[in-house]
């Protein structure tokens, strides 16, 4: 009976064929490690955000008079509402951390080189959109922290010459953070950004499926002798089938993601919710300390440190553009083994170190 049901489904859907084609025949490269699974972890983290976000959406009211109260109701009155809210809050921070680690890993493996330039570009764009989703999300509970963080964050683009004021004004929907900002951020957070992130994510995954996972340049020497304009898929005949070998590695890292998530929920549930996050937004009362979220501390401190605001913001814009188009800037055929490219390694590590230093500096300044 059971076998007949399975067969009935198999004839119509072809799950076995799907598994064979996309998981067994798709092979992971030789020497693929847990680091290679971070993209998949990001995908799972994004799904977790979407599911918890939809649950929050059932009770959330995007209006200045009701937003704070509705979030309080979710946290205190709705059964297990606190769990969804905290997972969404902590998960949003973990997803940024996972993407950063993923990007550093891809950079150090120089996996962005031909033919993966567009894969890198979609990844960086996705990262920027995730940051925007974080910015828009922090205002939605309409608490003091979110309100004033938004006030600070939406001021930063105004330092840009000519278009800066326009960008700030468009983000806020006026001169100040008001109900218009809330409804604008709400629509960006729950519809516009998730749609764009999903499209980019699909594109990212399709490109990875087409090109195959990148080989570690240290383990497998480069053998690619195809002309620049030809496409050659990395089939990894010496590697392992994606299912079950690499899938188990992925599953393990997903378990680690959930372990970290619930570790924070158990021991530091308010890690990303400072005391002011429990006070309704009050445009007339500025909190004593306003700091952006941890992932914005470095740009915030850079702008604070550089006396000329235009120069500070310009540096950040240039950095973002360079990061986005890095594969095209590092296009010359100098090999993918970063150990043989001390200049590239130094550059990557210096930028990373500076970012960490500015983040710590921003935390304590």
């Amino acid at each position: 009976m059971w076998a007949r049901i399975i067969h009935w489904i198999e004839v119509r859907i072809g799950i076995e064929e799907l598994i064979n084609k996309h998981l067994r025949q798709f092979r992971s490269p030789k020497g693929a490690t847990f680091w290679n699974t971070l993209g998949f972890v990001t995908l799972v983290a994004f799904i977790v955000q979407a599911v918890t976000g939809i649950m929050l959406l059932l009770y959330y009211i995007p209006h200045p008079e009701h937003a704070f109260k509705s979030v309080q109701t979710i946290t205190n009155d709705i059964p297990y509402g606190w769990l969804f809210r905290l997972i969404h809050n902590v998960g949003g921070n973990i997803i940024v951390a996972v993407i950063i680690i993923h990007m550093v890993h891809v950079f150090l493996r120089v996996s962005y080189k031909r033919p993966r330039e567009i894969t890198w570009l979609t990844g960086v764009l996705m990262f920027l959109l995730v940051l925007l989703a974080c910015i828009t999300g922090q205002l939605l509970p309409w608490h003091q922290t979110g309100f004033w963080q938004t006030t600070v964050t939406t001021t930063i683009p105004s330092f840009l010459p000519v278009i800066g004021e326009g960008i700030s004004s468009y983000m806020r929907g006026g001169e100040f953070v008001t109900g218009i900002t809330l409804s604008r951020f709400f629509s960006f957070h729950v519809v516009i950004l998730p749609v764009f992130i999903t499209i980019l994510m699909l594109l990212h995954v399709i490109l990875i499926r087409r090109q195959g996972l990148s080989t570690s340049p240290v383990i497998e020497p480069e053998t690619d002798a195809s002309p620049p304009d030809d496409f050659k898929r990395e089939a990894h005949p010496e590697g392992q089938p994606c299912f079950p070998h690499f899938s188990l590695k992925r599953l393990f890292m997903v378990m680690i993601y959930f372990t970290v998530l619930f570790f924070i929920l158990t021991f530091f549930p308010n890690l990303f919710l400072p005391p002011e996050a429990n006070i309704q937004a009050d445009p007339m009362t500025t909190p004593e300390f306003i700091r952006p979220a941890w992932y914005f501390l470095a740009p915030y401190q850079i702008i604070k440190t550089i006396p000329n605001d235009v120069l500070g913001i310009s540096l950040l814009v240039i950095f973002s553009v360079v990061l986005m188009f890095w594969p095209f800037l590092d296009a010359k055929d100098a090999g993918r083994n970063i150990r043989k490219r001390p200049m590239l390694m130094s550059l990557g590590l210096i930028v990373l170190a500076l970012w960490i230093i500015f983040t710590i500096w921003g935390m304590y300044s």
Partner: protein
């Protein structure tokens, strides 16, 4: 085909971002509904503070602002004009009597002056020994004798102290009062501390805060009665009513403990699953592929 599509999209976007966004319905909507209560008020600068902190004022007058800035009033956004009247937003009319400027009250008018806001406390004070003496002689203790005039701090039992009371009389009776008030006062302090802690931990405490505030305000009126027996009998009533708030607070702490335990449970499950999956992945020989 693609060119037509791009042109159409550009035209539609331009229309939306320029023409439609300036439609009159939107302006009305923004002004009347969205903007008004939440926009930061422009020109929230007090002419009183500007003038009183300027060099043209003598030190004593400047000190008034310094004292006020440290006060409980300042912490709760009670500004100069809330007590003294006038128009702080308009320097030329700030001291106009037509705009409700009252200036500093005469000694005899102080209870009325403070009682504009503290209505219940004023009545309670006027019926007390302190209030009666003041009304009869105009020399007894008024509000500012104990609370000060500009550096006004949150009323607490610490105001009943030997140094302050012995300015006018012996401390014996005041000490007896303080002892009678002590239990309820310490309960109130504990509740206040717990409510603040719960709030920081993300628990909604609005209802308990309101109940606390009501009890706190009513209890404060007892401080002015200076009738020890009345205080003793009413203290037990307050204790009972505070116990209800305390039990609700305990429930909230239990809820927090449940949240922590539930998260810890999920944490342990995922640690277990991580170990299982890790061992499973190791069980596959890399040569299998």
């Amino acid at each position: 085909m693609i060119r037509h599509l791009i042109i159409s999209v550009t035209v539609i976007t331009a229309l939306f971002s320029t023409g439609l966004s300036r439609a009159s319905y939107r302006e009305t909507f923004e002004k009347e509904f969205m903007l008004s209560p939440w926009a930061i008020a422009k020109g929230e600068i007090s002419a009183c503070i500007q003038c009183h902190t300027s060099d043209s004022m003598d030190t004593e007058m400047q000190q008034l602002v310094r004292d006020w800035r440290l006060s409980w009033h300042a912490k709760n956004n009670v500004s100069c004009h809330d007590c003294h009247g006038g128009a702080p937003e308009d320097a030329s009319m700030s001291m106009s009597h037509q705009r409700g400027f009252k200036g500093s009250p005469q000694e005899i008018d102080i209870p009325e002056f403070c009682g504009t806001c503290h209505i219940a406390i004023k009545n309670n004070y006027l019926q007390s020994g302190h209030g009666k003496t003041f009304q009869e002689s105009a020399e007894g203790p008024s509000c500012i004798t104990c609370h000060g005039s500009h550096n006004i701090q949150q009323a607490s039992m610490d105001l009943i102290n030997e140094q302050l009371c012995t300015k006018c009389h012996t401390y014996d009776r005041a000490k007896e009062m303080k002892q009678a008030l002590f239990m309820v006062e310490s309960k109130l302090n504990n509740i206040n501390k717990d409510l603040k802690r719960l709030k920081v931990l993300g628990i909604a405490t609005d209802r308990q805060e309101k109940a606390y505030f009501r009890n706190h305000a009513e209890f404060r009126t007892l401080f002015h009665s200076i009738d020890v027996d009345a205080v003793r009998s009413k203290s037990s009533d307050y204790s009972q009513s505070l116990e209800i708030i305390e039990s609700e607070i305990n429930e909230s702490f239990k809820q927090l403990a449940f949240r922590r335990n539930f998260s810890a449970y999920l944490f342990m499950i995922f640690i277990g699953l991580s170990i299982v999956v890790f061992l499973l992945s190791k069980s596959y020989d890399p040569q299998d592929g």
